[in-house]
Structures are given as C-alpha cells and as structure tokens.
Amino acid sequence: MKTLEAIPQPILGISDLTVSYNRVPAIHHLTITLDSGHCVGVFGPNGAGKSTLIKAIAGLLEPETGSILIKGRPQRRGAAFIAYMPQRDAVDWDFPVTVRGLVEMGRYPHLGLFAPFSGRDREAVDEALELFQLGPVSHRQIKALSGGQQQRAFLARAWAQEADIYLLDEPFAGLDRTSGDALAKALHALRDRGKLLLVSHHSLTEAEALFDTAILLNGELVAQGPTRDVLSSANLQCAYGTAVYSG
C-alpha cells in the first residue's frame, strides 16, 4: 500500500475509518492523510464506498470506528470550511433560485440567523461568480444553465462559503466533453489556490490529467498516492478483481 509522505498537520486525516449501512460495512479501516493543494480522485468499482467516504467526511454518515480529523480537530457538521456538493440528481433544478441566489447561500453559514448581507458578503459572491465565469448568467434560474455551468455554480457557492475542503460526488457524470473540460479547469484553479478537492469518479479515462492524487477503494483502501502509481494495472486488478482497460 502506498501512502503520501508524512506531512505535519495535514488538512484531512482519516484513521481506521469504518462506516456501515445496517451493520454492513461499506468502507472499513481506512487510513488516509491528505494535504491542501491537491485534486484527489476517489476511484473504485460500484459499491466500493466512494460516495460513502465522501459523505462520511461531509459528516452525513456516522463512523463506526476510527476518526476523521480536519485541520487536526475532530470533524463536525456545520464547519464552513467543508463544502459538500451533492450528486446532480439530488438537486431540485426547478427550485426558484437564480445563480446569484445559489451562490449567496454559501454565505449563510457566516451570517447565522439574523445578520444582514453586508458589503463583504456581496464582494465574496461577486468574486465567486467572476472566478467561475458565471457573471453573464448570474440572473438566470439554475435550470437554464448548461450542465457544466450548473456544476460551476455549485463550486462558486462553495467558494463564497470560503471552504477549504471540497467534496464532490461524481461531478463529471452526464457532462459532455466541453462542459467536463471547463469543470476540470475550475477544479484545477481551486487546487492551485491551495484547496483540497476530493472527487469521486467513475471512469479511469484521463484520470491522470484530472487528478494529481488518487485513492483507490474496494471497501478497503487498495492504494493511495500519485495517480499514475495508484492506477497501475496491479492495483486495478486488485480493486476490480479483473483486468480493466483504462483507456
């Protein structure tokens, strides 16, 4: 098993993590350490626990054993520096909200119940819209966007939230080539700004171009490290139980 070099105070430290559904473990005894400034792909066959890992880090699933430390502290729900992005089919695209309104939601954790929107909040929203090139469509209802713009709008919400860890569940699913490229560019821009991105991903094609680091799961951790090393045919054989054509 490969691991990253030991880094003092990693942003995300997972040790001995087991998460179960109705006592059937989906992932067991995972130990993973990740630092900021990486775009990490989470790979594995169906049922390998990709979504489970993402949801556990988001605080949506309770660990059965082990711990998740974020910035050296136990993970808790409601931390503004974690942004969870749902799968596309979990979103009500008919919801009466514009792109700008969606990005404004990212400021809510900072505002609490009563605080009014300040100039500082508006700046953060403007900045996020600009960074993800959503300015021209900011007034549009979210359904009237292309698939890639929709994903970018959710990234912009996370940016406005000032998140440091981005958790994305299959964001490339259903995107065409052009939209996928634009999304990859946006993810890399976030990585280059020192964010940690954890992205569950189905396809092994172009994995190296998308992710500098990879985690390969099959219920347990098969490998973790630089993408090229992790997705070696020996590891894939181990994870998928059969030879996989990785394109």
Binding site: M85, A90, V91, D92, F95, L113, Q141
Partner: protein, 313 residues
C-alpha cells in the same frame, strides 16, 4: 351598472360587524397560508398537508363534544388530531412494512370517518357542512384572535428561520452537512402547516383548507424564479383572492369556502396558461434557445479553434 351601484356593492358588506370580522379573518389567513404555501410546495408536501387537513375533523368533533364550539377548543382538538395522524404515520412507517404515504393515507381517512361519526354526538347542534366547507359568517372575536396568533407565529417563525429553511428545502443533504437540524426544521414546518389548516377552518372548512395553502403558492411558482418573490406574491395572492372570494360569497349567497377556492383556481388557471415564463400557451412566444449563450459559445470556439464548430463525435 353605474359607479354608484358598484361602490354600494363593495361597501355594503362592511356595514355588518360580522362581515368586518370575516373580511379581516380572511385577509389574515389568506396572507399567512399563502406565505406558508411556498414552503409546502417546495418541500413537495402538498399531499401530506391534504391528509392532515382531513384528519382535523375528529379532533374538531371531540372538541365540539366536550367544550362546544369554543375557538380555542376547536384549535386544540384539530392540532392534536392532525399531530396524531402525522406522527402516527411516521411511527407506523418506521415499525412496519407500510411506507409512510400509505400509513398517513390510511390514518387520515380513518380519522375522517371517525370524525363524521363523532360529530353526531356533539353537544351543540352543528351542521357538518360548516366543518367541511367553512362558515366564515360565524367568525367570532375568539376566531379572530386565533387568526392573529396563527399569522404572528407562522410569519415570524418562517421569517426568522428563512435561511435554514431555504437550504433545507433546496438540498437536504447539504443542509445536514452544514449543521442544520433538518428533522427539527421539518417537524416545525409540519406544526405550522397544522396551525395554518386549523386557523383556516372557519373560512374554508376541513375539505377546502388545503386550497388556501397550495393554490396561491402554486400560482406564484408559475410566475417567478425568485424565492422571496414567490413567498410574498403567494401571500398577496392568498389575501386578495380570499377577500374577493368572500365578496362573491356574500353577493351570490354561496358558502365562502368554495367561492374563495374558485377565485384562487381562476388565478392558477390563468398562470398555468399565460405565465410569461412558464405558461403553456406562452411557449410559442418564447425564443427556442438562449440566444446570448449560443453566441458566446460560437465566439469561444472561433477564438480557440479558428474554425467553425462542427458536429461533435
């Protein structure tokens, strides 16, 4: 009809104290339930709310048996009965093979039948149709206080929790991940729905109370893409249509409930057909695509590739 007759027709009902109370009560409840309706619709709980509205009846009947027609008693009875159906439904769904909508539907229809039977035993001689379709002309001061109270509680709670509610409605998983207690918010919303239903009993009755909750917000949903606009226009539509329906009911001498619902329905039908954005008859007048976007892509392609975009492989 000249101006004088119209003014007369409009001002005549206000000459009676009971009509003044009725108008005030209608306006308050119409506004409040129209406001609340946005949350019900976006949470896709229209049918649950309908089930709850039916389950008010046995509570109201039990109250009528023990304390007569006191507004406080009816409110309490309705609240308890609806809560029992709502929570009982959840309990059954959790403990048995029945799914929650089956459990709630079974319970509410049983409750409704029980209510019809129980009403026969009420102390005061009371017409079942008043409970089923409303009797706004019987609004007393007590009912008016309930309307004030319901409006105050509902509007202030929804306004205070607006941010949490928006995130919860839009995306439950993200709401949970960001530390919002989603189940608490959902229970609270259900309590407000029951309160809204009970408060509208006098105006529209058990069977039609769901209409004040759903129709104004459904109309607003077809008209706007902005959450705050949907909230406030739902409230205004609810208020205006309730008052207009009451006028109609006064002059046509028909129960207020059906009149109010039909006025709301007229507006919903109009929005369904003619809403500039989402009306089904307006689609032919809309542009087939978002022109500026295709222009943008076109320019983008030309800038990068220096050739025209061909069909994609």
């Amino acid at each position: 009809m000249n101006l004088h007759t119209i003014t007369n027709a409009l001002s005549e009902p206000f000459g009676y104290a009971f009509m003044q109370r009725a108008f005030l009560s209608c306006a308050l409840i119409g506004f409040t339930n129209g406001f609340l309706g946005t949350f019900v619709i976006l949470r896709r709980q229209a049918l649950l709310a309908d089930a709850l509205s039916h389950s008010l009846l046995p509570g109201v009947a039990v109250a009528a048996i023990f304390v007569g027609l006191s507004p406080g008693g009816l409110l309490l009875g309705g609240l308890v009965a609806a809560m029992m159906v709502a929570l009982g439904g959840q309990l059954i769904a959790r403990n048995s093979r029945l799914k929650d909508e089956t459990a709630v539907a079974s319970l509410y229809i049983i409750a409704f039948a029980l209510g019809i039977v129980l009403i026969r035993f009420s102390k005061v001689r009371v017409d079942l149709t008043h409970f089923l379709f409303g009797n706004i002309l019987g609004v007393g001061d007590g009912d008016l206080w309930i309307a004030y109270g319901a409006a105050f509680i509902t509007l202030s709670t929804l306004t205070l929790l607006q941010r949490q509610l928006i995130i919860t409605l839009f995306d439950g998983a993200v709401a949970r991940a960001s530390g919002i207690r989603v189940s608490l918010i959902e229970t609270l919303l259900m309590c407000l729905i029951v309160l809204g239903l009970v408060a509208s009993l006098q105006a529209v009755g058990v069977l039609l109370s769901i209409g004040l909750l759903i129709l104004p917000a459904a109309t607003a949903y077809l008209l706007t893409d902005s959450f705050p606009k949907m909230l406030w226009s739902g409230a205004l539509i609810g208020m205006i249509c309730s008052v207009a329906g009451l006028f109609l009911s006064y002059h046509a001498n028909i129960s207020s409930g059906p009149c109010i619902i039909l006025v709301l329905a007229l507006l919903l039908g109009t929005a369904y057909l003619f809403s500039p954005r989402y009306g089904i008859l307006m689609s032919s007048r809309r542009r087939g695509h978002l022109h500026d976007e295709s222009l943008e892509r076109w320019e983008g392609h030309q800038g990068h590739d220096h050739h025209l975009p061909g069909p994609r492989e």
